[in-house]
Amino acid sequence: MTRLVNKTQRLGHRVVSRSLHNSYDWWLVAITVMLLCIGLVMVLSASSMVAERITGDKYYFFKRQIIFAGISAFIMWITAIMPRSLLYKFQYPFLFIITVMLLLTLTPLATKVNGASRWLSLGVFSIQPLEFTKVALALYLAYFMSTKQELVKTFNKGVIPPFAVTLILALLVLAQPDFGGSAILIMILFFMCLIGGTRFIYLFISIAVFFAMAGALVLYSPYRARRLAAFLNPFQDAQNTGYQLVQSLYALGSGGFFGTGIGASSQKMFYLPEAHNDFIMSVIGEELGFLGITIVMGLLLLLFIRSYVIIINQKNLRDRFSAFSVTLVIALGTILNLAVVMGMAPPKGVSMPFLSYGGSSLLATMFCIGLLLNFSRSVK
């Protein structure tokens, strides 16, 4: 855990830094704001024609996204300025509420769409518990790994609790059914165990068990088996599965350097309630071109760089693990969405942080950023 800061620089800034001891990572704030703005513009561009068709109001989705952005910016701010001890106090209640929400998705209270019930309707808007589950689980695992370091190497007290919690949540999500969602939860567990120091043997065994169970699930349903086979061997059925990869890459590159212009691809949009993928990145590629994609990827990269700085500068182990865990959530979302868009992962309906339309995803992401900003106070 070496400090990146130069000793002489520190001495020179001592006077300044004392008065700014509560300084946040303004780079992170700036990046977040820029990504949010790009996201809002893209939502407007992508949705205006569809919105007009469906509701008669071009700005229907845009207005809602502005509201979501406003609320989540507020959440980000609150989370950033709150005393950390207070935030940590809410951990178990948060986890409990999430579990209750997940249970509710299995009851008739949930909104069923195409046979899947991933949403809870609250009148004017709906929430998707999965988005918050990811954060709750990540933070819980950070707590466990950091505070129970001495137990982590053991099985009974070090492996079972985190695995059990993850498994319960993953099964609840699986029951919706949401295979992609439960897979993400498992991935969070895996990475947190990796940095937490769980014995490799336990990790290997659990990975093996996981693949065995996943394999059983897949074989149990011939449909899923076929989809997996087609995905794993894209050239076998180039007409079917290779097609999507080609199409995505084409769309990513079809915008030329500057893109076809904002709003240009909106004719091709339509509304699907339970979409398989979220192609906002390919919309960006088409409308904003190579330049646009580069800027967005650049911003995301900068975001992860800032997160890295924040993480390694945490003195407190729990803080460090928590900062890592929320970064992990955002990173997983980003990578998985891009992987789907590029045809490298089976369609799993993962939304792109900051850029996809949706309140739950945005709220959860901004909450993570708020936490990172909170931790950034301790940097330097």
Binding site: R53, I54, F61, T111, Y223, N240, T241, Q244, Y271, P273
Partner: protein, 439 residues
């Protein structure tokens, strides 16, 4: 219907057609148009068709040229495995298709109309549905709008699929659609600017599970409308508004006798005209134009169509009257005594409901084709009923019985499929008999 159109849901909606794999089931006119439009949009299309013979030659050619896949034979689960979206032909019962769709597959079913509707830009949409009267209302609207000089597209159940309009790229100001319950059943977000509801009668019970499903399919027309849209409903439909929580601006219509109709017979047609007028008024049609259309509009073939007046007897062709309620409407259209021609493939409904009308207005019933027992059982004690094997026999028999000033009405209250290809053929046969056989 198959998904609650809850816009509060926050799905990742940035879906693009090029990323979709779509299965089109059935190679009827709407299926073919949908396939072509999907291909134009860049989606990957897969056609499913049960019988090879049903596929038109030009379409097979097109498929070959565009490298699109077509799968023949009975449907099975494998056909739907790699599919994101399903566009079925309106004639296929969804409950039948659903048994082949794996539950985990998360396949969305969308009607061809709604699919094409997404491609509209700023056209205003006027949609008409109902058990009977929808084609008449649509035709009246079409006549009024055209007379007013407005550029329109007329399609849907009445003939041209909306996808063809999109493909032809000849832009209209107003899109006029006649929609059947089959098409509406697979619509979820479809939202017309103006909706006209003709009426609801028990119909197609051989297709829809029951009246509830039929009703919920029909009401889909108005479900997504908001307060800026207009819904024109029959005056006896007030309870629907609350029951289905309709948010559109509602106008109820009834026969006001506003415009005298020269060629259209019956109260129901006056109501149809009123409904059409209320809609077209919104779209810029003036009263003068409406008056002119009222005076000149001729009924559609096989719908209470006066074929000939022979020896003072009116021969009226209502072969389109395939339901009990259509028969009721037909019977109510005439003050003179009626000799009724009925019989064929019964679709459901209660014949005994018509007993008062039969007693009051029908002097004799000449049955032909199937369902003889049903009719005789319902009305046998009220009126003289005869049966002939064919329509020709029945017509000849009734024409010898009829007296001056009476009406011989072909309103079979059944489908024609026992003896004819469709109601059109039955109507044509009737006209042939009246024009060529009778003297």
């Amino acid at each position: 219907m198959f998904f609650t159109a809850n816009l509060d849901l926050m799905p990742p909606f940035s879906m693009k057609w090029p990323s979709m794999r779509v299965a089109v089931v059935g190679t009827g006119r709407s299926g073919i148009a949908a396939a072509k439009l999907l291909h134009t949009l860049g989606a990957q299309v897969q056609i499913l068709e049960k019988t090879i013979e049903n596929v038109p030659k030009f379409f097979t050619e097109w498929l070959r040229q565009n490298n699109c896949e077509i799968l023949f034979g009975d449907h099975n689960v494998h056909q739907f495995e790699n599919v994101d979206l399903l566009i079925p032909s309106p004639g296929i019962p969804i409950s039948y298709l659903q048994q082949f769709i794996p539950k985990e597959a998360n396949i969305h079913i969308m009607s061809e109309t709604e699919f094409a509707w997404y491609q509209l830009t700023d056209e205003k949409v006027l949609a008409v549905t109902g058990t009977s009267g929808k084609t008449t209302i649509t035709s009246i609207c079409s006549a009024m709008l055209k007379e007013q000089g407005i550029n329109i597209f007329v399609g849907g159940n009445i003939g041209t699929p909306l996808s063809e309009y999109i493909l032809n790229k000849k832009k209209a100001e107003i899109v006029l659609l006649e929609l059947s319950s089959f098409q509406l059943q697979t619509c979820s977000l479809f939202r017309p600017n103006i909706a006209i509801f003709a009426n609801i009668y028990p119909n197609h019970l051989d297709y829809h599970k029951d009246m509830d499903e039929y009703l919920s399919a029909k009401i889909q027309l108005c479900k997504n409308q908001n307060k800026n849209d207009l819904a024109i409903l029959k005056s006896d439909m007030c309870e629907f508004v609350d029951h289905y929580n309709l948010k559109a601006r509602i106008v109820f219509y009834s026969d006001r006798g506003r415009f005298p109709l020269n060629h259209l017979l019956g109260t129901h047609n006056r109501e149809n005209f009123e409904a059409a007028w209320l809609a077209c008024k919104e779209l810029g049609v003036t009263e003068n134009v409406a008056k002119h259309v009222a005076a000149t509009f001729k009924p559609l073939e096989h719908r209470l169509e006066l074929v000939k007046c022979l020896h003072g007897i009116q021969y009226v062709n209502d072969s389109k009257g395939t339901t009990v309620d259509a028969l009721r409407v037909a019977l109510e259209s005439f003050e003179q005594p009626i000799l009724l021609l009925a019989g064929g493939k019964f679709k459901g409904g209660d014949l005994t409901m018509l007993r008062p009308l039969i007693k009051e207005r029908v002097r004799a019933v000449g049955l032909f084709g199937n369902s003889r027992g049903l009719f005789e059982g319902a009305w046998g004690d009220l009126v003289a009923i005869t049966w002939d094997n064919s329509l020709e026999g029945a017509v000849i028999r009734l024409s010898s019985l009829a007296q001056e000033g009476e009406v011989i009405l072909l309103a079979p209250a059944t489908a024609s499929f026992d003896q004819y290809m469709n109601y059109i053929e039955r109507g044509k046969d009737f006209k042939r008999i009246v024009n060529e056989v009778l003297i």
